[in-house]
């Protein structure tokens, strides 16, 4: 083969490879359509959020237990997709609250012994905030964690390397490594339930409606009225994570 035909051959082969690669990707997008296993659920019609009403939480721990049961979270030693914290705050020193979360509040809280009666004390449930500008999604090297089209941050267990970078990047401490799969795990907002019209397990069993699911794209959802009429905050707003977990009645001492 002389110089010019060899060059010609390489050029044509290269062109073929590039074009067929592009075509196959395009075809997959066309063929994707609606997911087959949730025929009544269209992702783009939903934008999920959570509302936590701190003024209603009684620290019963139902949510912690329900989450562990629903999502098969390891009971030992201390992995939690959601947990409840108890704050004891001296009103004159809100920068140094005393916080505890015994086994994540799996068995509720033991009785409180207060040395100083002049305190305020309350419970704060925590979970993945399903951030719209999630720092954990940003740092994943292989695209194993992502923000779904309906606003839930999920983990692809088949792709996760277990590098733990996302665990470091989450400002809220909601991720952990599942020792049984060596991949990252976290609250999925019970994606397998909400896509079927059910409530997340933690919302289902909360006796005081301190935890509520919201769908920001649904005009009839009560979350819109709630956000309009209450003073809500997100955790660590200075991090600008776009957190979609709104807290009502959040005290300044909450970390």
């Amino acid at each position: 083969m002389n110089e010019s035909t060899r060059r010609e051959f390489l050029f044509q082969t290269g062109k073929l490879l590039v074009l067929s690669g592009a075509a196959s990707i395009a075809w997959d997008a066309v063929a994707a359509g609606a997911p087959a296993d949730a025929p009544n659920y269209t992702m783009t019609e939903h934008w999920w959020a959570m509302v936590i009403d701190v003024e209603k939480c009684i620290g019963c721990g139902n949510c912690v237990r329900a989450c562990k049961a629903e999502n098969n979270v390891p009971l030992e030693p201390y992995y939690f997709r959601t947990w409840v914290e108890r704050y004891v705050v001296d009103p004159e020193d809100i920068e140094h609250p005393i916080v505890d979360s015994p086994n994540g509040a799996y068995d509720g809280f033991p009785e409180l012994t207060l040395s100083n009666p002049n305190v305020k004390t309350f419970f704060v449930p925590k979970l993945c905030n399903h951030c719209a500008n999630s720092p954990c999604v940003q740092v994943c090297p292989v695209g194993a964690t992502f923000d779904s089209p309906d606003g839930v941050v999920l983990v692809d267990k088949e792709r996760c390397l277990g590098c733990r970078y996302c665990v470091q990047a989450c400002p809220y401490g909601c991720r952990y490594i599942d020792p049984r799969t060596n991949t990252v795990d976290k609250c999925t907002l019970c994606y397998h339930r909400i896509t079927k019209g059910l409530l997340p397990a933690c919302v289902e069993v909360c006796p005081t409606a301190a935890r509520q699911l919201g769908d920001l794209k649904n005009p009839n959802d009560p979350i819109h009225a709630f956000l309009r009429t209450h003073k809500v905050q997100v955790l660590k707003p200075q991090m600008a994570t776009g957190s979609k977990t709104y807290y009502n009645g959040l005290d300044g001492s909450v970390r």
Binding site: L17, G21, S24, I25, D28, A29, A32, P35, D37, A38, M43, E55, C57, I58, G59, C60, G61, N62, A66, A69, E70, N71, R86, Y87, G108, F109, E111, L112, L114, T121, F122, F123, G143, T145, F146, D147, S148, P149, V152, L154, V155, D156, K157, E158, R159, T188, Y191, H192, R193, T195, K196, L198, L199, A201, E204, V205, C206, P207, T208, A209
Partner: protein, 151 residues
């Protein structure tokens, strides 16, 4: 300007690198999952994986389908907004008929006290009791009907 012969060994190096690069692209075309990148930088199948988990809690609506009488009793009670499974635990297998066993009753004391034991941390308006002032022996259900607890 160096002669072509003097540069020949560099051409071999370039060919080696070029070959490796081609191998890389071929490997990529084969190994990257076909559904990667459709919705974003992730495998679209992961959404289906997340949806496919088994369900443990049936949800209140499922309970009331069979236990309508309890549902009616609770509708006007103070426990109206407490889901059945808050006290009775996950019952999806029972509700779907897969599990023929009858779920046992929750332990009265522990279940009730988790919510109702007095604590300074609980909202003041929430009904809570100090055990020794209230009735420190005997089960709660001796006086309170759990589905309509107000006396």
């Amino acid at each position: 300007m160096s002669s072509r012969q003097d540069r020949a060994h560099l051409v071999r190096v370039a060919a080696l690198f070029g070959g490796a690069l081609i191998l890389f692209f071929v490997a990529r075309a084969v190994l990257v999952p076909k559904d990667f990148g459709i919705y974003g930088h992730y495998r679209a199948g992961a959404l289906a994986d997340a949806r496919a988990r088994p369900i443990a809690y049936a949800g209140q609506a499922a309970c009331v389908e069979c236990h309508g009488d309890v549902g009616d009793l609770r509708k006007t009670s103070s426990h109206a907004h407490v889901a059945c499974e808050s006290c009775h635990g996950p019952l999806a297998t029972h509700a779907s008929g897969d599990d023929a066993t009858r779920p046992g009753r929750p332990n009265g004391r522990t279940t009730c006290m988790r919510c109702h034991l007095a604590s300074l941390s609980k909202p003041a308006k929430f009904p809570q009791i100090v055990l020794k002032d209230h009735a420190d022996d005997g089960p709660c259900i001796a006086c309170h009907q759990p589905h309509a607890p107000k006396l």
